[in-house]
Subunit: 205 residues, 2 copies
Amino acid sequence: MTVKQASSGERSGRSGDGTTEGDGATEATEAAGVTEATGAAGAVSERGERSVDDEEVHWLSPIEQRAWRAHLAAHKLLEHRLDRELQPFGLSLNDYEILVNLSEITDRRMRMSDLAEATIQSRSRLSHQISRMESAGLVTRETCTDDRRGTFAVLTEHGWATIQKVAPHHVGSVRRHFIDLLTDDQLVELETAYAPVVKHLKGIR
Amino acid sequence: MTVKQASSGERSGRSGDGTTEGDGATEATEAAGVTEATGAAGAVSERGERSVDDEEVHWLSPIEQRAWRAHLAAHKLLEHRLDRELQPFGLSLNDYEILVNLSEITDRRMRMSDLAEATIQSRSRLSHQISRMESAGLVTRETCTDDRRGTFAVLTEHGWATIQKVAPHHVGSVRRHFIDLLTDDQLVELETAYAPVVKHLKGIR
């Protein structure tokens, strides 16, 4: 499962290799708990081949692992589904995101560097993306001669018409596969929980 | 921002175009609330060019939009950061995920179709991914002659050593940029909120 991203870091190897030190009983219990939570991950520890110094690593607790896995699984499955439901319109989720950004801005144009920042991707990846969308007639590139900071991505009429047509369907997908499955309280909790994560990560970009 | 994925679907155009029908006051308030929450998205409605029939679309409420945007922003920023912190080890986040899956399985091998299922991606995308990892010496492909169901991806000794070396660092990243920023209660809430989403999406894959 994709959700095991951090699970290979289970520390159960410690309880079996006889090298456990410190407050023994507590640590053994902790280790057993983690093993239980990681499921198939046990294969790693059963071999007893872990080479890293577990004493220095703060592995995830069962609760932490389950939350992390849930976040990853939900996002990946959702991304896959939303992408799939955009396919009949000839769009990928990335295309959609670019179209939304451009459609929401006055003049429907954004400097490439700003668009890369807004969509959280590298300039080079965005450039490839925009080339594909240019071929599809959704956007054009324009170079502003007065502005040394370079090239703009501009929404075409076809791009505008496309986002107008697709948005209601996409919102329906988001609602069906995510929003409507959560209570209002859960939605508020989600926003509250993620706020410091978003702030932290934006701060170190 | 990437988090506007569903925000182009604001219904504020309704309040300005004089075509609002039904329980007028309530709808006008709703529309105003959504406009406020979408911020820059207002550009779409100001033009008054929305062509879709808003009466039939159940646009996201302010709370729903904020939760959805928070989820998207948190995930995208996190993915970007985790990917970046794996780069010094010559791995992408996708590489890491494959290595974890193979390392957790007995014999460190998985049928390609199972691996595609586990990592929530198409067979063709996984095939490209495995080719790149094969070049890097992390995995090999093996065809089982007894088994018509095809090819296996197998973790190499180098792949095994790599995941052992990288896992502690990756767990550190996950903790620093996500887990340690949430309270235990929030982690539990997160898992609870996502459980039905994951179940639903797995059910329709």
